[in-house]
Amino acid sequence: MTYGIIRKDFVIPANDFTIAGEASSCVKKMLIQLGVDPQKVKKTAISMYEAEINAVIHANGGIAEVEIDRNKILIRIKDDGPGIPDLELAMQEGYTTAPDSIREMGFGAGMGLPNMRRYADKLEIRTEVGKGTIVEITVFLTDN
């Protein structure tokens, strides 16, 4: 038997903190309507929000591709930004390259990637300096 799959794409606008987070809250709404376990909704929403904000801060926005099927939620955030030179360093809590102007707004505390790792069941990051970054977040809906 083939199961249905829902695909939805979102544009993450550049430099706009007020709209940033709209995609993740839209996905959150969808998951609630699907009756997904609230804990999993939360994991998805937080990790996706962090990735979204990262794309806004560091990469002039990008796109988010969301795929939901009965086994998992897959979120791919793609950007054409500067890429991450040292991924291991970037994964450390508190490490940030965000400019002061952004930190003053309460963002860029160096918790984005660590939070994604904390909440996503699977996190894959492909990045190339000068080209861009693809962050792939998976949250599993079934326990196997």
Binding site: G4, I6, S25, Q33, L34, G35, I46
Partner: protein, 451 residues
């Protein structure tokens, strides 16, 4: 009691079927059908927002009539602290309480006093720190319901202490039965309420325990009686037992200020509350210990069943708070009250937004919902009876509405139909066709020549 008792109801006669309430409802719980607003029971949280916005006063709160107090031999009034803000002409809080007593009660016990007991207990809980993230006040029943239907991840954050109203009712009943030797069933305790949500919490408590309160009388209903009694007072009785800490609960921020921590956040107005709860759910407020969230703008002073303008009420209650401070009331401890203040029942998630019990079916419905939504004009005009285009799309997949409920969709269909009719109008069966132009056409077609 039915699982969906609601204090907020509709006056069918007054309702014109406009879109004011559907647009403001924080849980999208209202639809207009047959030019009347219908409340979807399982979604309504009794916040009273619709009561406030209805220009025709068609939304009302079911409260108990003052005559109900006659069903009891011994009657106790327990006023919400917000009552004090309504009476600017009163000399003192004791005057208000005495006037209230004169409305037919044998005794008055301040809910503000019970609020102090809850304050002390909350301070203890904050010291123990056995909770995830910030504690969220349960003082506003509409907010607790909101969490139940929209923020399941925050159910564990709710401060699971009985409300000051329940504690006040319990103390009043205990004291009266003990001191006056009156049977408990003969004592009627009546809450003087600023809002509908409190009424619901009495008739259908969320922790499913029976309430100690026997009835709820709205401030609006009893206001004039109190006012006229105020004029007749010769000497006010000493009925006030609360300190400024309890009286201050009527204000937004009053409950939190008493906790002795700076790490609190007070938010009021249901739409603002939703924004803050989103922040908490996304773990953006981790440095906050306590969140006081009240559905009404201005807190209980802005309740839909109050009389005075909320800002005026704020100024009035300030006078009584200052008065309570001057008299050097001490924040009394809980020593004299040995009650179990913790909820015994369980608060459960009510997944009202779920499209289907079956995940695969829900997936199909969600997909259809998106398809329908993208075809709708996106004006959120409300003319279909749903608050937004997306809500209409949702109603359609749930089988509660049709695409042609959208007047733009309907108009489009009518237009297409008209175009088709115009096209058909030009076409006549050849046998009936007497038009010259069509004769020529027929000839060109090489039809049978008459000659």
């Amino acid at each position: 009691m039915s699982p969906y008792f609601h204090s907020v109801t509709l006056d069918e006669v007054k309702c014109k079927g406009c879109t004011n309430c559907i647009k403001r409802c924080p849980t999208e719980a209202i639809r207009v059908r047959k030019s009347k607003a219908r409340i979807i029971n399982e979604r309504c949280i009794d916040c009273g927002e619709c009561i406030r916005v209805c220009p025709y006063h068609a939304k009302k709160a079911i409260t108990d009539s003052i005559d109900m107090i006659n069903d009891y031999k011994y009657r106790v009034a327990i006023p919400a602290p917000s009552l004090y803000g309504q009476l600017k002409s009163a000399q003192s809080r004791d005057h208000i309480l005495t006037a209230l007593k004169m409305c037919g009660f044998d005794h008055v016990f301040e809910v503000a006093r019970a609020a102090e007991i809850i304050t002390n207990e909350t301070i203890k809980m904050l010291e123990d720190r056995k909770f995830p993230g910030p504690l969220i006040s349960s003082a506003c029943p509409a907010v607790v319901r909101l969490i139940q239907v929209r923020f399941p991840n925050l159910i564990d954050n709710i401060l699971k202490l009985k409300s000051p109203m329940e504690v006040a009712a319990k103390i009043a009943k205990d004291e009266v039965s003990r001191d006056k030797k009156i049977r408990r069933e003969d004592i009627g305790v009546f809450f003087i309420t600023p809002c509908a949500a409190k009424v619901t919490s009495i008739k259908a408590p969320f922790d499913k325990e029976k309430s100690f309160v026997d009835g709820a009388i709205s401030i609006v209903d009893i206001y004039l009686r109190i006012l006229s009694a105020l004029g007749k007072i010769e000497k006010a009785e000493k009925l006030g037992s609360a300190s400024y800490v309890g009286v201050r609960w009527a204000n937004s921020g009053g409950e939190s200020t008493a906790l002795g921590t700076d790490k609190f956040l007070a938010v009021d107005g249901i739409h603002n509350v939703i924004a803050i709860l989103e922040e908490i759910e996304n773990e953006k407020l981790e440095d906050i210990d306590f969140v006081e969230a009240l559905a009404c703008q201005g807190g209980c002073l802005g309740g839909p069943l109050t009389v005075e303008n909320m800002y005026v009420a704020k100024t009035v209650i300030k006078k009584f708070i200052d008065e309570a401070k001057e008299k050097k009331f001490e924040t009394t401890s809980n020593e004299n009250y040995h009650y179990d203040l913790v909820w015994t029942g369980k608060v459960e998630y009510m997944p009202i937004m779920k499209l289907d019990k079956d995940f695969d079916k829900a997936m199909k419905k969600l997909e259809t919902l998106h398809d329908i939504n993208s075809g709708l004009p996106g004006l959120d005009c409300g003319a279909c009876g749903a608050p937004s285009c997306r809500a209409l799309a949702e109603d359609i997949v749930r089988g509660n509405a049709n695409e042609t409920d959208c007047i733009f969709k309907l108009r489009e269909k009518v237009r297409n139909l008209a175009v088709q009719m115009m096209e058909l109008e030009e076409k006549m069966p050849p046998v009936l066709d007497r038009d010259e132009a069509s004769e020529i056409k027929s000839k060109k077609r090489g039809d049978i020549d008459e000659g």
